[in-house]
């Protein structure tokens, strides 16, 4: 799993909640149906975004529900990473659990415009704005968080743990 990502920015504001990333009526729907209603606060977002693009948001991105489909939808859409002033905490944990890089970076909303190209490294927490030649320091992942993301998520960690327990002598 890549922890250093480069891409083009789409900007969002404060308090974008999990219900608009994954409306309840679509939670059990197949991906093709889920795709269209994703982030419906911004019409046709899913059609315009390209694989590897980044989202830069204000405060409290992903507040609300524990539904994992919120970050999962963004991941399936091909979003490379989300960089925000702050995150809803369950959303943020879900991102680590599914190995979808999201970074807390105070000052990011003012430091870039839509369409800028950024390079983000969740290991070091550094965010470089390649379009403007500026750099910001976000909150780097801890070693344990990085390990989960690098292994491909918590289910992979669990799989390895189960495998190791089976191999261990009784």
């Amino acid at each position: 799993m890549q922890t250093r990502i480069r891409g083009r920015v789409w900007k969002f504001g404060d308090d974008v909640d999990t219900d608009v990333m994954a409306p309840w009526s679509t939670l059990s729907a197949p991906w093709e149906e889920r795709r269209g209603s994703l982030l419906h606060i911004r019409p046709r977002f899913a059609d315009q975004v390209k694989a590897g693009d980044l989202i830069v948001a204000g405060r409290n991105w992903g507040c609300g529900s524990s539904r994992e489909q919120a970050p999962e939808n963004l991941q399936l859409l091909g979003i490379g990473a989300v960089i925000a002033e702050s995150f809803g905490r369950i959303y943020f944990r879900n991102c680590i659990a599914i190995a979808f890089p999201n970074l807390v970076c105070p000052g990011i909303a003012a430091a870039c415009q839509e369409g800028d190209e950024l390079e983000v490294d969740v290991g070091s927490g550094k965010v470089r704005n390649l379009s403007r030649g500026s750099e910001l320091q976000g909150e780097a992942y801890t070693r344990d968080m990085l390990e989960i993301v690098e292994k491909g998520g918590l289910l992979k960690v669990l799989e390895a743990r189960i495998g190791a327990a089976r191999k261990a002598p009784q």
């Binding site: 309840w24 419906h40 879900n94 801890t142 918590l154 189960i162």
Partner: protein, 423 residues
């Protein structure tokens, strides 16, 4: 070392003498609650070849979000859930007895000092009985069901000191909305909350459940009340296990303190589309209400239904308004019926629906059309949460919801209330 409630729970659950805010620990669960998410989590376990959960006595499964099944797909999901309950030998399958947090609390499954993980963001509700409850997504819940443990950062704690006597017509929901409006929905982001002070100590468990439930709308990981005489009296009727007081150590370190004088509060209404858009009802203006919804883990307990019944008694629901009452649990429904509230609601023209989550998360049982307005006793009014993204959801107390059902628009509930105090 003096510790906060969060630190005390996480020290015990991680097998350490002491922890402090900022430490990372691997903590062991005392209870794991799964609602419909159980189906997906358990199927993942099956796929990984895991044949048992970490402790079948500590896992509680309940189907609440889609009951009775509104679609064939949901019915199939429930059927698989029940099969998997059998297959994994889950001891505590609570069927469809109501909203998870209400049922687990009223049946005494959660005790002071417990560390509780749930597949639902409103797992903070258990803080009302002094437990550290927090929500997890599907992957983390699957991991905890298999291993019984997960990594956590020990959160700093924000302490709210609630003082003053609640004026007539003011409920704990008004306090919660006032806090969200005044301090913002990030005041407890990545943090634990302790609700304390004389007004907190006087609150019933029912009123505390509302505030702890709304804790997650402040960003909180846990939202505690100290477990005191009131908590123990409530739980001793419901649990076979010993119940004891649980609170922070004297001298525990807090990140911040916020004082809230509830004696000056007006009824509060959160405007679309965020619980933090809360204002006193006098600043709202005349907003027509198409649907008044009294339901959810936030505010559909007996105490809430009693307040609504008192407002509805001898009155009629406004002809332009639908008033939906979804009791939080089957037990609440039964108690409300015995108390005569059900008859009052039906006489007034309300619609009673099956206990469960119902319309709150937008699953079934009262969704909204474009352009419609709902005043709801629930916890969130995000755009599109209860149906159309073009609908508007306002949040208020059960008193405010019942008053709007009668008036047909948002109104100060105190005009229907003379004399005694409602809480």
């Amino acid at each position: 070392m003096a510790m906060t409630m969060a630190e005390k729970v996480l020290a015990r659950a991680s097998g350490r003498d002491a922890v402090s805010a900022g430490d990372y620990v691997t903590a062991r669960a005392d209870r794991v609650m799964a609602h419909e998410a159980w189906t997906i989590c358990a199927l993942r376990l099956v796929k990984l070849g895991v044949e048992r959960v970490f402790d079948p006595d500590k896992v509680i499964v309940i189907l609440d979000h889609y009951f009775p099944a509104p679609t064939e797909q949901m019915a199939r999901g429930h059927a698989i859930a029940r099969d998997l309950v059998e297959r994994f030998g889950i001891r505590h399958f609570l069927g469809h007895a109501g909203v998870c947090h209400q049922v687990l609390t009223e049946r005494g499954h959660i005790l002071p000092g417990h560390l509780v993980f749930g597949t639902d963001s409103h797992t903070t509700t258990y803080g009302a009985v002094g437990a550290a409850g927090t929500g997890l997504g599907l992957t983390e819940a699957t991991y905890v069901l298999a291993t019984g443990e997960i990594w956590l950062r020990v959160p700093p704690t924000v302490r709210f000191l609630l003082g003053g006597e609640a004026p007539a017509g003011i409920m704990s929901k008004d306090v919660a909305l006032h806090i969200a409006g005044r301090f913002g929905t990030e005041v407890a982001q990545y943090r634990a909350v302790e609700f304390a002070g004389p007004a907190a100590r006087r609150m019933t468990v029912s009123s505390r459940l509302t505030l702890s439930n709304m804790g997650v709308e402040l960003g909180a990981k846990f939202a505690f009340f100290e477990a005191d005489e009131i908590t123990c009296a409530y739980l001793r009727k419901r649990s076979k296990e010993p119940v004891s007081f649980f609170g922070p150590d004297p001298g525990a370190r807090y990140e911040s303190f916020h004082e809230v004088d509830i004696s000056r509060l007006e009824p509060q209404i959160a405007c679309p589309h965020n619980p933090g858009n809360a204002k006193p009802v006098s600043e709202i203006g005349r907003v027509r209400v198409h649907q008044a919804f009294l339901g959810s883990c936030t505010n559909a307990r007996l105490e809430d239904l009693a307040v609504a019944a008192k407002i509805l008694e001898g009155r009629k629901v406004h002809p332009g308004t639908r008033f939906l009452v979804t009791p939080a649990s089957a037990q609440v429904f039964l108690d409300a019926t015995r108390a005569g509230y059900t008859e009052i609601f039906l006489e007034a023209g309300a619609h009673l629906t099956t206990p469960g989550c119902g319309a709150c998360p937008g699953g079934h049982g009262g969704l909204l059309a474009p352009g419609e307005v709902c005043l709801s006793s629930t916890n969130r009014n995000f755009r599109g949460r209860m149906g159309s993204p073009e609908a508007e959801v306002y949040l208020g107390s059960p008193a405010s919801v019942a008053a709007a059902a009668v008036a047909g628009h948002i109104v100060d509930p105190r005009q229907f209330w003379k004399g005694s105090t409602i809480r």
